[in-house]
Amino acid sequence: MQLWNHCENPYPFVPAEVLDQAPSVRASLPNRYCDPKIAARLYDEVFDEYRLCDDIGLHIVTNEHHSGINNLWAASPVITGVVARLTRNVRILSLGTLITVRPDPVRVAEEYATIDVMSKGRLEIGFVKSGATEMVSGDANPMRIREREWEAIDLIEKALVTRDGPFSWEGKFFTHSHVNIWPRPYQEPRPEFWAATSDLPTCAELGRRNIINTLLFGGYDRTRQAFNAYKEARAAAALSPPGEDRFSSMAFAYVGDSDEEALRIGQKIAWFLTVSIKSAAQFAKFQPGAVAPEMAPAAWRAGVSRRPRPTNLDAEVLIGQGQMFAGNPDTVARQIKDFRRRVGGIEHIIMMTRQGLVTHAEAEKSFTLAARDVLPQLQDLPPIDTEETAWEARRAAAAAAQ
């Protein structure tokens, strides 16, 4: 298995009373609450953490979000380009550029090709559909974004693999009459593609395209369901069964000297869920396209406005759901191995560690322990007995239903 470090570079230094009063901590919180001197220190710290990861063998994930306290990576290609020059050894995954918000996928392809060359072939390219507050931050129509995302992916792929351009593209969402990116990617024919989704039809399409499927905090059940959709789609299309290297999961993670220490610090990571996703109703349940119309009655009746925002998500609850790995190195290795078994096999674990008020020192300690004492325990694992794990999943589902 492989371990990846994903940091969103959050900005948790806005006064609590401001966050409590703001209807949304993304999209509409004025940037006067972001002190650039603090932001500069945060960039330094996280880039130093990435350098450490490069030395000890943890791969690196970047992403982007806009206009909010949750994320200071405003443009994934910019950040990934910096990481490409700061590191020498590990893989770098951009997960990803918000391609449904960017007006021109060709520029995205060219930026990625540039990073692939600068990193001498260490880039992996991830796609996310986006939505919610990002639609207003990017002034992007939230309707038909799934179709827009696929067309953007198709255009980016063609731009990356074409060697005898220019070519012309006149699609439904994007037109570009002269596509001919320089440089071409370092890797042939292109860097590996990833996509983050738990949407089952999208997982199936990823399967048919052999794109790595990652779940974000999917826990045991949704992750297994998503991976099954991927596997079944390949089987239905008479394609070869996917290896575990096609599957990935992002989870909160903290590795400490002791379980107690890890739980105490891991609790701070839950800030991501308790504070950083607060967003107003127009960006969430009432955003057009947020749910299919036939799902609207259930979503609106049981929607966020009637349910208090989670404010005390317990680390142990998150661990129990397969959304967090936390403990001493042996505990975390055991949790990850158990997760691998319960989701039917997985190669990539993306650890979100530097989150909320977790400090630079705390993050570096966890990375060091993860690389030194957890990663070796995840090598050369025996194959998954899929029949046994399927039976376990059915039993767990039945227990949950009671």
């Binding site: 207003v136 109703a281 127009q282 609207a296 009655p297």
Partner: protein
Amino acid sequence: MSQRLQVGPLALEVMRRGPNGAQHRPILLVHGSNPVSPKAAFVDLLAEHGEVIAPSHPGFGDSPLPEDFDSMYDLVHLYLEVLDALPDKAVMIGLSFGGWIAAEVAASGSAKLDRLVLVDPVGIKLGGREERDIVHFFNTSPAELDRRAWHDPAARPAGVYGLGWQAGIDDEMSDAELVRLARNWDALCLYGWRPHMYNPQLRHWLRRIAVPTLVLWGAADQIVTPEYGRAYSGLIPGARFQLIEAAGHHPELEQPRAVIDQVAQFLGPTPLGPTP
């Protein structure tokens, strides 16, 4: 299954009200954020002046939404086709977003169009680049939309929906009604997100509107202000502008009698006879 209006390959949901036949002038009602509710009081009042024909735009209500149908261009051609198929010259009344459609159709020109009524239409850009003429429908809280769209939100009639409809959701509403509202909201966004609820070119083509036009505006409209309305009206040759007191963005829902009185005066004696 609701009534249908066949337009090319599309079978649109349609509400018809009032007398029909060759002796009655058709009144084509072009809806705004939500299809015209059969419960809305103004519909029966309007039907005293002709046959009301109120289709639901593709994607709204129970009308289908083809995959390749997503722009104002599509809606304009659709309604030109609807007009073509009517037996007589028609009055077209456009409400809010539907006012934009109606203004576009009238600027395009149709031999079947006799008169035009616009009620708090959106659709044009008047202010500077840092001035917002039209409140953003999807980037504004439902409570704020409700406050801005109605003269008196507390007196909003039951069972009819305008902007800020989310405030009216309660446990009594059926799943079917909620699904319709969700379809309406999605479709409105598909057509109008960007540029938000206007066509940058329409402003300089309004001069082509060649039929008598009445522009009605809720005096308390804070979605698009009466000042915007006066300027809009001023760009249409010969148009008459009239404020409706004690009404916001949906005067036909808040002051149905006052709106229909204005429309009746504009149309002349009722019921309208056949056009020459």
